[in-house]
Symmetry: C2
Subunit: 211 residues, 2 copies
């Protein structure tokens, strides 16, 4: 059985949602990030980077959200969580997820975890102060993508990209991130996500309120 | 015909190599990053993020290196640039490429382009000073991966992950990155890469020396 090592509210929410959408048989295992459980010898044997999520499957262990999400979509094709039979559309979905991981997540991390890249307190403050500026630019691109009236990132069809975007549309409301006041399409997408039973089940399991 | 917008020595090298390995019919178009051509209105119409690489195909435009690399591997299967018929191995390749894009490339970018995340000069210096520390941790993981004697990232079979790793094994020698003195397996991988005709052709086309 699949094991998902995750933390409530972390980017692992997207994998949690995708596994529920897929109808996968899995066990979620919470990693207590606040108490440093991700740095314990036991966890570092599972994931030497000391991050969540980690997905342990019958074939082996996977890390990195976009890779895990696409593996779920391909392993449970009946759930239709990615474009099928259209290699270019699939690459576009992956490109969007890469933008989220390499640009949007990184922008948030400069506010939440500046110690990853800076040692001094002044530098950490500088990084945090810049985050809302970068996020405004990043989410302007996301608003642009949703501007043609599409319900989901890839158009009419829901995909794992929507579950991943939901992570960051939630994080916008965390202290210092700048909020979603000027992002109506992102907020509408977040609301649509919260109508999905899999998202409601994930929120209940992780002890999080809808926004 | 495919158009590759790239810059000599940038992470677009990996896409350049992959297109050559695939035998794709493509036109490389250099973007003059030093003179800010990536911020020109013409280029921003092609890629609103103002980054390289951008791949313009008959089906549309793709950005983000791991997504482009996998699209090339899937579109030219006869070149065998990714695991075939093994979804888990393909996900592992993507996971490795994600680690390169979201962690390793980001570590380098804090040295080369700190203005992406910081405004003050002191903060920028702090980020640059930390880069060699983070890169040493990241490349220790890469050395660990290569420690079983495998020739390539995925084992016996070459893949686009090798072309992507080559970008960063080159960048190690750039000022301030910390160098490759204690990374014998990474250096050996770099040398193996430079024996490949496609890498030699890329270096000649981009005007770069082997290392």
């Amino acid at each position: 059985m699949i094991k998902l090592f995750h933390a409530p509210g972390a980017c692992s929410m997207s994998v949690h949602v995708a596994l529920l959408e897929a109808g996968a048989d899995f066990e979620p295992i919470a990693v207590d990030l606040k108490n440093g459980a991700q740095h314990s010898p036991e966890y570092l044997r599972i994931n030497p980077q000391g991050r969540v999520p980690t997905l342990v499957t019958d074939d082996g262990t996977l890390t990195e959200v976009p890779a895990i999400l696409n593996w779920i979509a391909q392993t449970y094709p009946q759930a239709q969580l990615a474009p099928q039979g259209d290699g270019f559309a699939l690459a576009q979905m992956q490109s969007f997820n890469l933008f989220l991981s390499s640009t949007v997540h990184i922008a948030f991390a400069h506010l939440f975890r500046p110690e990853r890249w800076a040692d001094g307190d002044a530098a950490k403050d500088d990084l945090g102060a810049r985050t809302p500026v970068n996020l405004a630019l990043n989410f302007a691109m996301i608003e642009q993508r949703l501007a043609d009236g599409r319900a989901w990132v890839m158009g009419a069809q829901y995909s794992v990209a929507d579950a991943y975007l939901y992570v960051f549309s939630r994080w916008l409301e965390r202290d210092g991130a700048g909020g979603s006041a000027n992002l109506p399409l992102t907020v509408a997408h977040r609301s649509r996500m919260q109508e999905r039973p899999a998202v409601q089940a994930m929120l209940a399991a992780e002890g999080l309120p809808p926004l």
